[in-house]
């Protein structure tokens, strides 16, 4: 009885579908942290994705149809992400986009890998736009994961190089980071780059993630170490509180950061941010006229200028759009494996340089900009007098760090 009704439903819906649609639209699922304490990061990724997909659809979408963007709230944790990934797969999503938190990224990439093993012919592709832990392109690397963001080795190498060329690095460096995959990677990268940057790591500290209110004890420790430069991968409150405490404690050290451009940081830090450094994937001033055009268009569409992780997310989705353009539909639908192969050879030109992907570990090769917080910057941050003045632009080849030996990628036949 049950079998009968299922068959009947299947036949009916097949007839229905066959009657209306001849091609299935490509569905892109954003599985991000859209509520809860870390929602601000997730919403920044969402803005970038929305902008890029609107552009893709304005240019005609794929196979004569608009690409659909479905949004899922992972509620800030791997468990929620795993659940929502299942929902997305059930909804027919073929491309999953996620960025904030390497912990969530680790869960998504594992789930995607298992799904693809168990469901040949129905593969999905994971577009990682911001989870920067090394393991994602190391032990956990897999054919259907693409990281369109930096990683600790890339970021720290560029930062060290840029600060050295600006004569701001000094010879004594202190590494303070959050105690989880990303922070540990940054600490390791700071240690690894000692010979390259000509400095010595005087001390390193790992601390709990977003739990500490009072950084004064850490600042006392940094002061006592005699460090000239502090390199940190901290983000959100952990970065802001660290910098505020350093100002209050009269610490003279210079900061090299990754996430200083998160909205609110410059407004909150005020003058004390001046002279500190950041390594980021995009700086409009470094992009010249193209950079200006991108910023203007983004502002017109989204209501604010692209900052923080938004530019890198836009470029990541533009890579996807470019690969889609080069993918031919098979039986009216997208073949995920063929799409992933196409993505491996895709290149785009962004205002600060060319983006591509390394086929061996699916790490994007992207340009890096090292900037200093200064009043001379063309684009101001957070409506203050300060902005990020580019110090040095590294091309994708210059910024790249070698692929990790631990990546053993299984490619589909």
């Amino acid at each position: 009885m049950l079998v009968h009704s299922i068959v009947r439903t299947a036949v009916a819906s097949a007839a229905l579908l066959g009657g209306i649609a001849h091609a299935a639209p490509v569905k892109i699922g954003l599985v991000e942290t859209l509520s809860g304490p870390q929602a601000s990061s997730g919403q920044a990724y969402r803005a970038g994705v929305r902008y890029a997909i609107d552009r893709l659809n304005a240019a005609g979408g794929w196979n004569g149809e608009s690409v659909q963007l479905l949004e899922y709230d992972n509620q800030g944790g791997p468990a929620g992400a795993s659940d929502k990934l299942k929902a997305a797969i059930a909804d027919g999503v073929q491309i999953v986009v996620q960025g904030s938190s390497s912990a969530i990224g680790g869960q998504v990439t594992e789930d995607v890998r298992k799904h693809n093993l168990r469901n040949p012919g129905k593969e999905i592709v994971y577009i990682n736009v911001g989870a920067e832990a090394l393991e994602l392109t190391g032990e956990k690397c897999n054919f259907h994961h693409f990281r369109f963001a930096g990683n600790a080795q890339v970021r720290v190498k560029a930062l060290v190089d840029g600060m050295k060329q600006a004569n701001a690095l000094g010879t004594k460096v202190y590494a303070i980071n959050q105690n989880y995959s990303w922070g540990q990677d940054v600490e390791q990268a700071v240690v690894d780059n000692q010979a390259y940057g000509g400095y010595k790591v005087v001390e390193k500290t790992l601390h709990d993630v977003n739990k500490i209110q009072d950084f004064a004890p850490y600042i006392a420790k940094i002061g006592a170490s005699g460090a000239e430069t502090v390199i940190t991968g901290n983000w959100s409150n952990d970065l802001l509180l660290l910098m505020k405490a350093s100002k209050a404690g009269g610490l003279k050290a210079r900061f090299g950061t990754v996430y200083l451009d998160q909205p609110g940081n410059i407004a909150n830090a005020g003058e004390l941010a001046a002279g500190h450094f950041i390594v980021h994937a995009f700086n409009a001033e470094a992009g010249g006229a193209e950079g200006q055009r991108f910023v203007d268009d983004y502002k017109a569409k989204m209501g604010h200028v692209p900052v923080f992780v938004e530019p890198q997310t836009v470029f990541a989705i533009e890579m996807v759009a470019e690969a889609l353009k080069r993918s031919k539909p098979e039986g009216g639908a997208l073949n995920a494996n063929a799409f992933a192969k196409t993505l491996e050879s895709t290149k785009i030109t962004t205002p600060v340089g060319e983006w591509s992907v390394r086929a061996s570990d699916h790490q994007a090769l992207l340009p890096m900009v090292v900037s200093m917080v200064s009043k001379d910057a063309k684009y101001k941050a957070d409506d203050t007098a300060f902005g990020f003045k580019p110090v040095k632009v590294f091309s994708a080849e210059q910024a790249a760090a070698p692929a990790q030996a631990s990546c053993k990628m299984q490619r589909p036949g």
Binding site: S40, D214, P217, A224, A248, G250, P263, G264, D382
Partner: protein, 313 residues
Amino acid sequence: MDAVVFAVLNGVIYGLLLFMVSAGLTLIFGMMGVLNFAHASFYMLGAYFAYALQGLVGFAGAVVLSTLLVGGVGVVVERGFLRRVHRHGHAHELLLTFGLSFIVAELVKLFFGNYPVDYRVPKALDFAAFAVGTQQYPVYRVLMGGIALLMFAAIYLLLTRTRIGIVVRAAIYRPRMVEALGHHVQLVFMGVFGIGAALAGLAGAVAGAFYTTNPNMALEIGVMVFVVVVVGGLGSLAGAMLASLLIGILTSLAVGVDASIADLAALVGAREWAQGIGGLLTLKLSSLAATIPFALMLLVLLLRPSGLMGERT
């Protein structure tokens, strides 16, 4: 030596800040038996009110006004919400304050956005009070500590040396008896709730400028405040003070200690073995600094469930 003096000083001031927030919580619990989950939200509201008002009335005025405003919000919450569900029991009151904390957080995001707002220590207070070695000590931290001490003295004197204090303390233990004696117990409850909220608001207005004012600040301090109240003993003001200082100083000192269990094992010549095992044994104490309060809470709950200075079990 400098480093230790500094660490202790830092710890004391941070402890005093924790006390400012937890004082109200422990008072409210002592009085009404309600663990107020929305208490840290009052702390956040204090910071945001002060941020919104500082342009109009200056920093000092904003701190005073926001304290009063948050006190007012507390009164409304008690009068309009908690009193209505009181007869359904503590579970309902707990759930109500829990829900309230979410609503406050979302409202703050709605009005002030997702990111930290530009609320900073005013220029006039932004200088070093003194220096120990190469380290400067900001005057604002000293000020925060001073405010907390004043507050402790004021509440302590109010509770132990005045008639109002006698009524309040009596209402904590025997509310029906106090009512029978002709005192308006509902009013006392409302007053205590309002003052408790105002104290958290004051702490928020003062600390929000020094740390950050963002929609997560309630969450960040909330957990620690509960730890303070549990360690100190639910309902005990002196206990809250003791626990705050203990937690502040312990975390601050722990940051400076890079030792691990492996170093301890070295005393009996087992360092190699411990390092071979790795994991927990080689974890540095400094990387666990923020976890120490929770370990302390566990210890206190095991050895002295009523808290360091709690009277009831």
